[in-house]
Amino acid sequence: MEEEYGRKWDRCLADSAVKIGTGLGVGVVLSVLFFKRRTWPVAFSAGMGLGMAYSNCQQDFRSPYLLHGRMVKSSPSYGCPLLLLQDQ
C-alpha cells in the first residue's frame, strides 16, 4: 500500500511534468506560431498542463473514494427516482 502511494505520487509528478512540459511546449509552439511569441500561451498552456496534471493527480488520489452510480427508473407511484450507488 505504501508503495502505491509513492507510485501515485510518482505518476502524478511524472504526469504533471509531462503535462506542464507539454503545455509549455504547446504554448511555446502556439505562441510562436499563432501568438507572436507571447508568453501568455506558454503560460496558458503550461497552466493548462498543470491544471490537467493537478486534476489527474487529484483524480488519482481520489480514485478509491469515488462512487459510480446509475440511475434506475423506479415505479412512478413513489415519483422519486432512486439513485443506486455502486461502490467502486
Binding site: M1, E2, Y5, Y54, C57, Q58, F61, R62, P64, Y65
Partner: protein, 740 residues
C-alpha cells in the same frame, strides 16, 4: 563354699553312678546265668523238636518214594501231602496193568500130498541120495516155511491196531469193537514161541498192503504152479517117450545099428526123462513152497478180519485150491506114467535079465563065441550049433515047463495080482477119494466161505444202512441239538456282545465327550486368550497408531511452525502449502485438526506469511504514511487536503509510543494516537493489539494500513491456527504417551 558343694555333689554323683554300676553287674550276671541256663534248655528242646519233625517228614517221603501204596494212602489221609510229594518225589507212578494173553491162532499144516512121495519115485537109484538129501531138507524147509516172521515190536501193533480201530470206526459210526490186537496194547509184548502170533501181527497190516501182498504171492504162486505143471507135463511126456522108446528097444528086433541107435536114443530119453522128472520135482517143490506161502498169507488175511479184503481172500483161496487140484492131477498123471514106466522098466529089467541070463548061458555053452550073436553066421561049428540047439531045446523045454508052471501059477498070480491091484486100486481109490473129498471139502469150504462172505456183505450192507440210518438219525438229532445250542449260544453271545458293545460305546462316548469338553475348554480358553491377546495387540496397535499419528501430527505441526520462521527480513515465509498438506495428511481422521488445518488462510498457504519483525519494520512505514494522510477520508480527498495533512504530519508531534488504555474512548480514535498505541504494542510484540488498533483507523490511513493489516491478519491467523494445532498435537501426544 561353692567348691565344697560342687565337690560334694560330684562325689555324690560318682557314688551313685558307682553304686548303680556296682549293683547292676550282679543282677546282669544273675540274669545272664539264668537266661543262659534257660537258653540252653530251650535250645535243646527246639533242636530236638526240629530234628524229630524233620526226621518224620524225611522218613515219610523216603518211604512214600519206595512204596506207592503208602504214598497214596498218605495222600488220601493227609491233605496237601500230595503237593508235597509231587514237589519232592515227582508225579505218582502209573497204576500197573494186567497183561491180556494174546490169542494164538493155529496155523494148519498144508494139506498137500507130502513132497517126499512125489520125489522118491521119480529118481533113479543113483539119484536117491540127492532125494534123500532133498527130503531131509524139505521137512526142514516145510518146518521153516510156516515159521513166523519175526514179530514186529509192540508199537506197530498198537499203532496198527489203533489205525485198524480207526478204520473200523470210520466205516461204522458205532463205537468200534476193538480188534483183537487192541485189547493188549498196554501189556509189554511177549513174543509167542512157535506157531505164530502173526495173525494178530499180520492182522496189523493195512488192507492195501495185504491185498497187494496177496496179489503178489498169488501171482508168484500161479507162475510157479504153472511152471510146475508145465514141468510135470514135460516130465510126463519125457516119461512117455522113454517108456515108448524102452518098449521099442525091448520089442524091436531091428538091425544092430538101429539097435545101438535105439539104445542111444533110449539113453538120451532116459536122461531127458530123469532131467524132466528132476525139474518137475524141483518145480513141484517150488510150487509147494509158493502155495504154502500163499496159504500163510491167506490165513493172515483171514485173520485180519478186514472185510474189504475178504473177496480177495476168497478168490485167492479159490485160486490156491485150483492150483493145488491141478498140481495133484498132474502129479497123479506123472505118478501113473511113472508107475507105467516102472512096469515097463521092470519088464525091461526082466527082459534084460533074461537076456543076460541067456547070454550067460550062451557064453557058458559057447564061451568062445562073443556076446554079439548077430555076426555068428559062418563062424559056428556043428558042435557048437548042436550044443547051441541042444541048449536051445533044453532052454525051450525049461521055458515050456516054466510057462506051464507059470500058467498054473498064472491064476494064482493073477489072483494075487488082482488082489494086489485091488488093494492098490483100493488104496488109489482111497487116496483119490480122499483127495477128491479133500477137494470137495475144500470146494465146499470155499463155497461156504463165499456164501458166508456174500451173506456177510449183505449183512454188512444192511448193517451199514441201519447204521447209516442210525447215524443219520444221530446226525439229525445232533444237528437239532446243535442248532438249538447254537441259537442259545448265539443269543448269549449276542447279548454279551451287545452289553460289551454298549459298555464300550458308552465308555467311548464318555471318553470322547470328555475329550471334547476338555478340548472345547482348552480351545475356548485359548481362544479367549487369543482374543485377549489380539485385543491387547489391537489396542496396542491402535494406541501406537494413535501415538504415531499424534507424533506425526506433532511433527508436521512442528514443521509448519518451523516454516513460519523461514520468513526473511522482508520476504514472506515459504508457502505453507506443503507443510499444511502434510499436516492435513497426518490428521486425516481428526475433524478438529482438519478444521484447523483447513483454517489456515489461503494466502499463507500459497504465498506464505510475513514475520512479525518484517511487519514491525513495515509498520513504521505505514505509520509515517498514515500520519501523512491522516486528514484524507472519503469527503476530504483533494490534493489540498493532502497538502494540509502533510503539513499536519510535519508539525504534529505525538509520542512515538503510547501505552494503549484498556478501553478506547472516542478521543482515542485519533489517528496519531492510534498509531502511537499501535507502535507501542508493536514494540511490545503485541501484533494483535496493534492490528486491532490499526483497525480503528478510518479514511485514507485505513487504506494505507489496509495491506499491512491484511498481512498482519494473515500472520495472526496463521499463527493462531498453528498454535492451536500445536497445542492440539501436544495434547494428543500427551494423551497417547503411555507411562512406562
Amino acid at each position: 563354699m561353692l567348691r565344697v558343694c560342687l565337690k560334694g555333689a560330684n562325689a555324690a554323683a560318682r557314688q551313685c553312678v558307682c553304686g548303680k554300676v556296682a549293683a547292676h553287674p550282679l543282677q546282669h550276671c544273675r540274669r545272664y546265668t539264668s537266661a543262659g541256663d534257660s537258653g540252653v534248655t530251650a535250645g535243646k528242646i527246639v533242636a530236638a523238636s526240629l530234628l524229630t519233625v524233620g526226621g518224620g517228614l524225611g522218613g515219610t517221603i523216603i518211604y512214600a518214594k519206595w512204596d506207592p501204596k503208602f504214598r497214596s494212602n498218605v495222600e488220601k489221609t493227609v491233605p496237601y501231602s500230595d503237593k508235597l510229594f509231587g514237589m519232592t518225589l515227582g508225579p505218582p507212578p502209573p497204576a500197573p496193568v494186567i497183561p491180556v494173553p494174546k490169542k494164538l491162532a493155529k496155523v494148519e499144516p498144508l494139506q498137500i500130498s507130502s513132497v517126499s512121495e512125489a520125489t522118491k519115485e521119480s529118481k533113479q537109484p543113483k539119484k536117491e541120495k540127492k532125494v534123500k538129501e532133498a527130503v531131509p531138507q524139505e521137512p526142514a524147509a516145510a518146518e521153516e516155511a510156516p515159521a513166523p516172521p519175526p514179530a514186529p515190536p509192540s508199537q506197530t501193533i498198537e499203532e496198527a491196531s489203533a489205525e485198524a480201530a480207526h478204520i473200523i470206526s470210520a466205516i461204522s459210526e458205532v463205537p468200534s469193537v476193538p480188534a483183537p490186537g487192541t485189547s493188549d496194547d498196554a501189556s509189554p509184548p511177549s513174543p509167542a514161541p512157535e506157531a505164530a502170533p502173526e495173525p494178530p501181527a499180520e492182522a496189523a497190516a493195512m488192507p492195501a498192503a495185504l491185498s497187494s501182498n496177496l496179489d503178489e504171492t498169488l501171482g508168484s504162486s500161479a507162475k510157479v504152479t504153472m511152471a510146475a505143471i508145465g514141468a510135470q507135463e514135460a516130465a510126463l511126456t519125457a516119461i512117455a517117450v522113454h517108456t515108448q522108446k524102452l518098449k521099442e528097444a525091448m520089442d524091436a528086433e531091428g538091425a544092430p545099428d538101429k539097435k545101438s541107435a535105439q539104445w542111444r536114443a533110449l539113453e538120451d530119453a532116459l536122461d531127458g526123462r530123469s532131467r524132466a522128472v528132476d525139474e518137475a520135482g524141483a518145480a513141484l517143490l517150488r510150487a509147494r513152497d509158493e502155495l504154502e506161502k500163499l496159504r500163510e498169507v491167506i490165513n493172515v488175511a483171514k485173520g485180519s478180519n478186514i472185510d474189504a479184503a475178504r473177496p480177495q481172500v476168497l478168490a485167492a483161496e479159490e485160486n490156491l485150491h485150483n492150483m493145488i487140484v491141478d498140481l495133484d492131477k498132474v502129479v497123479g498123471k506123472v505118478q501113473a506114467a511113472q508107475s507105467e514106466a516102472k512096469i515097463v522098466s521092470q519088464y525091461s529089467d526082466l527082459v534084460n535079465e533074461a537076456k543076460a541070463q541067456f547070454q550067460k548061458e550062451l557064453d557058458s555053452i559057447t564061451p568062445e563065441i562073443k556076446a554079439s550073436w548077430k555076426g555068428l553066421a559062418g563062424k559056428l561049428t556043428t558042435d557048437d550049433l548042436n550044443s547051441l540047439i541042444a541048449h536051445a531045446h533044453r532052454r525051450i523045454d525049461q521055458l515050456n515047463r516054466e510057462l506051464a508052471e507059470q500058467r498054473v501059477r498064472e491064476q494064482i498070480h493073477i489072483e494075487s495080482a488082482l488082489e494086489q491091484q485091488k488093494l492098490e486100486h483100493q488104496k488109489a481109490l482111497e487116496t483119490a477119494v480122499v483127495t477128491a473129498l479133500e477137494h470137495n471139502r475144500e470146494e465146499m469150504r470155499l463155497e461156504q466161505e463165499k456164501k458166508v462172505a456174500e451173506v456177510r456183505e449183505v449183512m454188512e450192507a444192511e448193517m451199514r444202512t441201519q447204521l447209516r440210518r442210525q447215524a443219520a438219525a444221530h446226525t439229525d438229532h445232533l444237528r437239532d441239538v446243535l442248532k438249538v445250542q447254537e441259537q442259545e449260544l448265539r443269543a448269549e453271545a449276542d447279548e454279551t456282545l451287545k452289553n460289551k458293545m454298549n459298555e464300550q460305546e458308552t465308555h467311548y462316548r464318555r471318553l470322547t465327550q470328555e475329550q471334547l469338553d476338555t478340548f472345547t475348554l482348552d480351545m475356548n480358553a485359548a481362544y479367549a486368550r487369543l482374543k485377549g491377546v489380539e485385543e491387547a495387540i489391537d489396542s496396542h496397535v491402535i494406541a501406537e497408531e494413535e501415538a504415531r499419528k499424534a507424533h506425526q501430527l506433532w511433527l508436521s505441526v512442528e514443521a509448519l511452525n518451523y516454516s513460519l520462521r523461514t520468513a526473511g527480513v522482508d520476504a514472506p515465509t515459504e508457502p505453507l502449502e506443503a507443510a499444511a498438506v502434510v499436516v492435513r495428511e497426518s490428521c486425516a481422521d481428526n475433524e478438529f485438526a482438519q478444521a484447523l488445518a483447513s483454517a489456515l488462510p489461503a494466502e499463507s498457504l500459497s504465498r506464505g506469511v510475513y514475520s512479525e519483525a518484517s511487519l514491525r519494520a513495515r509498520f513504521q512505514d505505514v505509520r509515517r504514511l498514515a500520519r501523512r494522510v491522516a486528514l484524507i477520508d472519503e469527503t476530504r480527498n483533494s490534493l489540498y487536503q493532502y497538502f494540509l495533512s502533510y503539513v499536519q504530519a510535519a508539525l504534529l508531534m505525538e509520542p512515538q509510543q503510547e501505552a494503549p488504555p484498556q478501553r478506547l474512548s472516542p478521543a482515542d480514535l485519533d489517528t496519531f494516537k492510534l498509531l502511537s498505541y499501535a507502535c507501542y504494542s508493536m514494540e511490545r510484540g503485541d501484533l494483535e493489539l496493534a492490528a486491532k488498533l490499526l483497525n480503528q483507523l478510518t479514511g485514507e490511513p485505513r487504506r494505507v494500513a489496509q495491506d499491512w493489516l491484511n498481512e498482519a491478519r494473515l500472520t495472526l491467523e496463521t499463527r493462531q491456527a498453528i498454535s492451536l494445532l500445536s497445542a492440539y498435537a501436544n495434547a494428543v501426544g500427551l494423551g497417547t504417551t503411555q507411562a512406562p
